[in-house]
């Protein structure tokens, strides 16, 4: 092993910063492409059924957006496949017999499927019969969804491990079905798929609105604006409901995370709901808090007098409260705004109406709203499970190591520059594509 001249806590911090940056960058693109694959499939079917050139133009434009986003996801995903081992050697050492096969299944069942059929979908429209092309589009959408299935199975297992046994000091799977369908998995996967649906529908609606603003009225842009808004209007309330169920599941299996999300410091009955506060992790109290009496007990236990466990019940193994608390509020706040925007948009586009310019500007501003909400939600769940990497089994601090701080620092700098350039170029190209309209 390479010796680490730096303080181990610095190395841990760098390893986390680098991995966090990479995964935060990566998650943006799958969270868009998982659902966009299905939206494309819908556009493709609409074109096949109607033969309407507006649907074809729509399909082609969004195929370009998809290809771009998919490439960003692929390249940052390849990086992650290396960093799993290099940044967290202790992780594979401890739970590699569980994590490894789940990752392997993702590569085998999803990556090749989506990458191979993407080629046919992007470049093969004139080379294969229509039904084969539709089939290829379906395979791409299925591939992205299957990929989400495996990676969320692994993430959920790390949050709520189940189905594993000890064999001579090694953790191995006792029952693979229990490992995959662990207690938080059903909620997490549906929550994530809906998040992807909302992200994609706002990107579709937002860029369509931008097209209407910049390239003038256009049948294809009107169609996609409506598609995005209707989809978002249906998915947003569903997400509120599923999010609540996911929260109740978290209360059962990861109560410390809930305590951090709601900034509940001390165990008690009739716990108030903290709407806003500045949690102080050192003094373990909330400053400037605005509360609804008995609100938290009500929401989480559906009983105003019910007892809720606070941070004190789990100390010292507790996550930092302030980031989890704020990230949770950002996620919920964005969710509410997105719901309002979607419902307002559906009303404004009824019976083929063209919304007023200020509404189009609003939808444009909401283009990447799903990213903000998804990233915030991801921060809640990943910071909220600290100090554990795998709940009750492996601490984050025990998984790092192997690479020196200097190497981590140098490569981190390289990644930051590369990602910044890529993200800027991505956004410029997306708005440019949309600004040119469907004939680009």
């Amino acid at each position: 092993m390479i010796s680490a001249p730096m303080d181990t806590s610095d190395v841990l911090l760098l390893a986390r910063a680098q991995f966090g940056l990479n995964i935060a960058f990566h998650i943006l693109f799958p969270s868009l492409t998982i659902a966009l694959g299905w939206i494309l499939f819908y556009f493709r079917i609409r074109y096949a059924r109607s033969g309407d050139p507006a649907w074809l133009a729509t399909y082609k434009l969004w195929t370009k957006v998809f290809a771009l986003s998919f490439a960003m996801g692929v390249v940052s995903g390849i990086t992650m496949s290396f960093q799993f081992g290099t940044n967290w050697p202790g992780y594979m050492h401890k739970v590699g017999n569980i994590a490894g096969p789940l990752l392997a299944y993702e590569v085998l069942t999803a990556f090749f499927l989506e990458a191979t059929f993407l080629g046919v979908m992007l470049f093969g429209m004139n080379r294969v019969p229509g039904w084969v092309h539709i089939f290829a589009s379906a395979m791409v959408a299925i591939g992205t969804t299957v990929s989400a299935f495996w990676i969320l199975a692994l993430n959920s297992w790390m949050q709520t491990p189940a189905g594993h046994v000890m064999d001579g000091g090694q953790i191995i799977a006792g029952d693979w079905l229990q490992v995959i369908f662990n207690p938080s998995f059903p909620y997490r996967i549906i929550h994530m798929l809906l998040a992807s649906g909302l992200t994609a529908s706002f990107v579709v609606a937002g860029l369509s609105a931008w097209r209407l603003l910049r390239a003038g009225d256009d049948v294809s842009a009107r169609k996609t604006l409506r598609t995005g808004l209707v989809l978002a209007a249906v998915l947003a309330p569903l997400q509120v409901w599923v999010g609540d169920l996911h929260g109740l599941n978290t209360l059962e299996h990861q109560p410390a995370k809930i305590a951090a999300m709601e900034a509940i410091w001390t165990t008690g009955k009739g716990v108030p709901l903290v709407l806003f506060a500045i949690p102080d992790d050192e003094k373990r109290r909330n400053d400037f808090s605005i509360e609804i009496p008995k609100g938290a007990s009500w929401i989480l236990k559906h009983d105003g007098e019910a007892e809720l466990k606070g941070i004190d019940a789990f100390a010292p193994d507790v996550p930092p409260v302030a980031p989890v608390f704020f990230a949770f509020r950002v996620m919920v706040g964005m969710g509410v705004l997105m719901l309002l925007a979607a419902w307002g948009g559906v009303w404004a586009t009824r019976r083929g109406m063209l919304p007023q310019r200020w509404m189009l500007w609003t939808f444009s501003a909401f283009t990447f709203a799903g990213w903000i909400a998804t990233l915030a939600g991801w921060l809640v769940t990943e910071i909220g499970r600290q100090p554990w990497l795998v709940a009750g089994i492996l601490r984050t601090a025990d998984a790092a190591g192997g690479v020196s701080g200097a190497q981590l620092g140098a490569s981190l700098t390289g990644y930051i520059i590369t990602y910044t350039v890529m993200l800027l170029a991505y956004m410029v190209v997306l708005t440019h594509l949309a600004g040119k309209g469907a004939h680009a």
């Binding site: 017999n97 395979m139 490569s411 170029a425």
Partner: protein, 330 residues
């Protein structure tokens, strides 16, 4: 009889890495050749690899994935020691991957910039992969000679990828671009011949393990079949490109096939040199392997998925058979 699971997974990993090197090798090679072509030819070159590069890179994920999940103890050591070249390779792959998409949508100097990044990313990734290989063979020893050796392997691998890319273009294009590709292939072949000769000569000096394996009479005589077959394949590339240059139209796939043979033979030699180590001189595949329960579960998946994987990959290559046409996204 019970299955030797680590051996099976070592073979699978080898297969995935060989497939990666050959498949992504040709599109990295095409990327490195971009500056030698004019704008219209560049479109054709990109069109020839457009439908494939995503899936080609997936073999890298599978290769590294198998290292990670089947030989976790080795993954940490190997990729920890190769951390910086790996980071350089990843940044190279990222740049070229997105440049591929961006350049189609950009105009004017933006397009030139992305073309340049496409070339630079291809080169960086190729050179870094060669460095990784060079460091890996020598068991990550430090010292000037070892680093020089790794650089030599890096330069040789670039030559190898250029040869793959050029022969791919001979196969997938026609007319003026094919003529250019024929010239590139011959230069690439000279480059590779020099590189392979130097690396083969140097390897016994930087590794006594390799030396012992190859200089062991009378086995050495049988092993000489490998360099002999490599030489024959090289000659085949030279001869068939010569025929094609004289206006022959048939056998345009032969230079590519012979180049793939060179890579496969070099790979076989490498595998022979390393076996049974997964970390040179330090850790064998059996010492590094995961728990049998994990390997069994993955083998089931491989057995089910691999036939489908081969079938739809073959299907994709069939869909895009024949000479490449410009105009992506048509």
């Amino acid at each position: 009889m019970s299955l030797d699971l680590p051996l099976v997974f070592a073979a699978l990993m080898g297969l995935a890495i060989l497939l990666y090197v050959v498949l992504d090798g040709y599109d990295l090679g095409v990327g490195m050749l971009m500056p030698a072509a004019d704008a219209r030819e560049q479109e054709l070159m990109v069109a020839s690899i457009g439908p494939f590069w995503d899936a080609n890179e997936t073999w890298l994920v599978l290769g590294v994935g198998i290292l990670l999940v089947a030989f976790p103890a080795a993954h940490g050591i190997v990729l920890g020691a190769l951390y910086l070249p790996v980071a350089a390779m990843l940044i190279g792959l990222m740049l070229r991957g997105v440049a591929f998409e961006f350049r189609v949508k950009a105009e004017g100097w933006h397009r030139e910039l992305w073309n340049w990044l496409f070339w630079f990313g291809s080169f960086l990734a190729s050179f870094a992969q060669g460095l990784m290989l060079g460091r890996y063979i020598t068991g990550f020893h430090s010292g000037f000679g070892y680093y020089l050796f790794a650089m030599l392997v890096g330069a040789s691998l670039c030559g190898g990828y250029v040869l793959l890319g050029a022969t791919w273009l001979i196969f997938k294009t026609e007319g003026a671009l094919q003529k250019k590709a024929l010239a590139w292939a011959r230069w690439g072949l000279i480059w590779v011949a020099l590189g392979v000769a130097l690396v083969s000569l140097a390897t016994p000096f930087v590794s006594t393990t390799v030396q012992a394996k190859w200089f062991d009479f009378p086995r050495t005589l049988a092993l000489m079949l490998l360099p002999a077959a490599t030489l024959a394949s090289g000659w085949l590339v030279w001869a068939t490109t010569g025929r094609l240059r004289r206006g022959e139209r048939e056998w345009d796939w032969m230079p590519l096939a012979a180049t793939v043979a060179i890579f496969a033979l070099a790979f076989a030699g490498l595998a022979y040199s390393l076996f049974p180590y997964v970390v040179m001189d330090r850790m064998t595949i059996w010492e590094a392997a995961s728990h049998p329960s994990a390997l069994k579960f993955m083998l089931v998946g491989v057995a089910i998925v691999l036939p489908f994987l081969i079938a739809y990959t073959a299907f994709a290559y069939r869909v895009f058979r024949g000479k490449a046409r410009a105009g992506l996204y048509e």
